[in-house]
Symmetry: C2
Subunit: 403 residues, 2 copies
């Protein structure tokens, strides 16, 4: 197969798969009565629980708006309406206390708070939803909600986290967990899209987040560690040795996106070498294929029970990372790695019978949980990956035609 034919084959597969995945969510997840989305869906789309996880609600609103806005075949009334009803559900019910920006982690079907976490992630996806809704509908209220919530979480992260309700304990030194600067960098990208004023406002935060991510390169550049000290040093014990290959690769394409936008070749090189190739080479299971969920940099057995299970989202992030890395560098080894992950993911995770992807395989690659959605899996990683890959492959194909 020629280079161009390979790109075409991949692009066509991504495009078909995106249709099937979105059909699954459109068909099964809309709550017509209360608004918002059911995400606890079984293999065939049956609802096995009606709890609403706020971060998954926010992610689905974001995904729907983004596709509506960017892809003509998804520019449909049905998609826009579901996104707006999801956004209105969030506005009405995400915050259990009307005096506070703090969001619930999970609410009942009709929006009563069940659980509040002492982290910032529900709020982050609330912002993603609101900003994307504003871009889609031009309703200023959504923009204001996004900006107000963003100011608050930046304050919690950079100034004073006491509002999150976490007790300060003498044995718990501040940790730079990679998820936090990753999330903030992603939000800066979101809020700054075609908005110079916002880009300027968040320029310092962009730099800070990028630097905080780069602090996770440890051991003389030989490993990315998930948690480092506030000063960027390795932490003791399991916490310090913890690795999450899929998460590192997601950070990799977040950084690559910065590098491409800023034509920053050094950053691009670091992103590919340290955040894409290193985690892939250490995290790919040589025996059974697939990416491990967790590793210990010294080779100890991780204490997380699912450490050797193969989860869907590290594979979607790897696909984006390799394709974006190839787009930035033209390094052919990245396309070979892409092929390997593509073959594994499309043969193991994708469900030809009912659409969408299984989320959780055993180490050996058998389906361990038959659910298509749950407390941690909604309409986000799979369609985001398929959409982004289709877009990058189309650009690469357009370049082929030019030459």
């Amino acid at each position: 197969m020629s280079y161009k034919e390979r790109l075409q084959t991949w692009r066509d597969r991504m495009s078909e798969e995106l249709d099937r995945v979105m059909n699954f969510w459109i068909q099964h997840s809309h709550d017509e009565e209360y608004g918002g989305f059911f995400t606890c869906l079984s293999q065939n789309g049956d609802i096995y629980d009606d709890l609403k996880y706020i971060w998954l609600q926010g992610r689905q609103v974001w995904m729907y708006c983004h596709l509506y806005r960017k892809v003509s075949k998804f520019h449909k009334e049905e998609i826009l309406n579901a996104a707006i009803k999801g956004g209105e559900f969030l506005l009405a019910h995400a915050r259990p206390n009307t005096d506070s920006i703090k969001c619930a982690f999970v609410v009942t079907r009709d929006g009563q708070a069940v659980k509040v976490q002492r982290t910032i992630f529900s709020e982050c996806f609330f912002i993603m939803a609101m900003d994307e809704l504003w871009r889609t509908t031009k309703e200023d209220q959504y923009k204001e909600e996004a900006r107000k919530t963003m100011d608050q979480i930046v304050y919690w992260v950079r100034e004073d986290s006491s509002g999150l309700g976490r007790p300060e304990l003498p044995g718990a030194a501040p940790v730079n967990a990679m998820a936090v600067p990753m999330m903030l960098l992603n939000l800066v990208d979101q809020l700054s899209e075609e908005d110079e004023e916002a880009a300027k406002k968040y320029e310092d935060l962009r730099k800070w987040s990028t630097e905080r991510i780069l602090q996770h390169i440890q051991r003389d550049g030989s490993a990315v560690l998930e948690n480092v000290s506030d000063e960027g040093k390795e932490l003791p014990g399991c916490l310090g040795r913890h690795q999450n290959p899929g998460h590192a690769m997601e950070a990799g394409w977040f950084l690559l996106r910065q590098a491409i936008a800023q034509s920053n070749h050094d950053l691009g090189r670091i992103a590919v070498e340290k955040f894409v190739l290193l985690p892939f080479l250490s995290g790919w299971d040589q025996e059974y294929g697939g990416l491990f969920s967790f590793q210990d940099v010294d080779g100890h057995c991780p204490t997380q029970l699912e450490w050797s299970m193969k989860l869907w989202w590290p594979h979607t992030e790897a696909l984006i990372a390799f394709l974006l890395g190839y787009q930035a560098t033209n390094d052919p080894q990245l396309l070979e790695h892409f092929q390997k992950v593509f073959d594994y993911a499309f043969s193991r995770f994708s469900d030809p019978k009912h659409g969408e992807w299984f989320g959780y395989l055993s180490r050996e690659g058998k389906v361990a949980l038959s659910i298509k959605g749950g407390p941690f899996k909604g309409c986000f990683h799979v369609p985001r990956c398929l959409y982004m890959c289709e877009e990058i492959l189309s650009k690469l194909l357009a370049e082929c035609d030019k030459t």
Copy 2:
């Protein structure tokens, strides 16, 4: 093999295994410098983290004292000293705030609080440790600590839980989670041993706990559910349908112990039929053997990633439940089930090379985590099971000799 020979074979294996298991902990887990125990131990006993989980510290103190007190071969200075140093570590460091009974969940090696949970379980095992230390050393301070902490947790559970720091949320109706009355019943047994005054003081709590456990029999007596409403009704969604076969079987032997002590045959029958046989028959994996970790009573796929993994402790609790059930009823099918679990557990979990048991197998029965101890596994379920089984088997053998 004759009936008596079977009992002897089992008893000898339990006895040898208990020696090997205790040797593992005595050899590898004592922190001579700070007191307390390392529980993050790899397959061969190497320490891979030095964090101290308070509930595991309490459990190990309890186990050491109990064996010292009850079994002559463990009546050793080394064991007593380690237990006392563990107890002193707890007294000095379990409570991050000296004005409050609330214990930390985990502390650093030298005792600085890392994390506090909004539950009662760290406190419960603190009580177990203190009471058993008092029975072993006759030092009144330990007794006072146990009683004072007990009063507080009973208040949190039965009067007002706001001291635990959990926010009251409109979507989170009060839940009767089986772990809570189980734990309280276990504590009543502990505190009342050969103490009529305590038995009288806790008589009402004993009844209340027993009733709250029995409320978990649902669906016209066809299933034990882990979580029910405060009024003993089934809850909606995954939370309500959640089953934990090993936990139900542990509740079974807690109830059986009540039934035997009170010569309450009805309770004994319910314990065996509902809490031992039902969960075993639904929870045993017909394809690969071993007990599932979690199930959904309607047969949906559980959302917990480890639902089909085989964990050590459901199997230790099943061994105790079947043997105690047999002792109470003489029903021979219980011995056949015991044999099945015994064969699985001793061939899969027990590590002939380095001692102690692996904790986590894949659904197919392969070792998934090679660790011997970690945040959730310490010196408790395995030796408690081996000690109790040896004791019951010895009684059954003594009855053989009488007849």
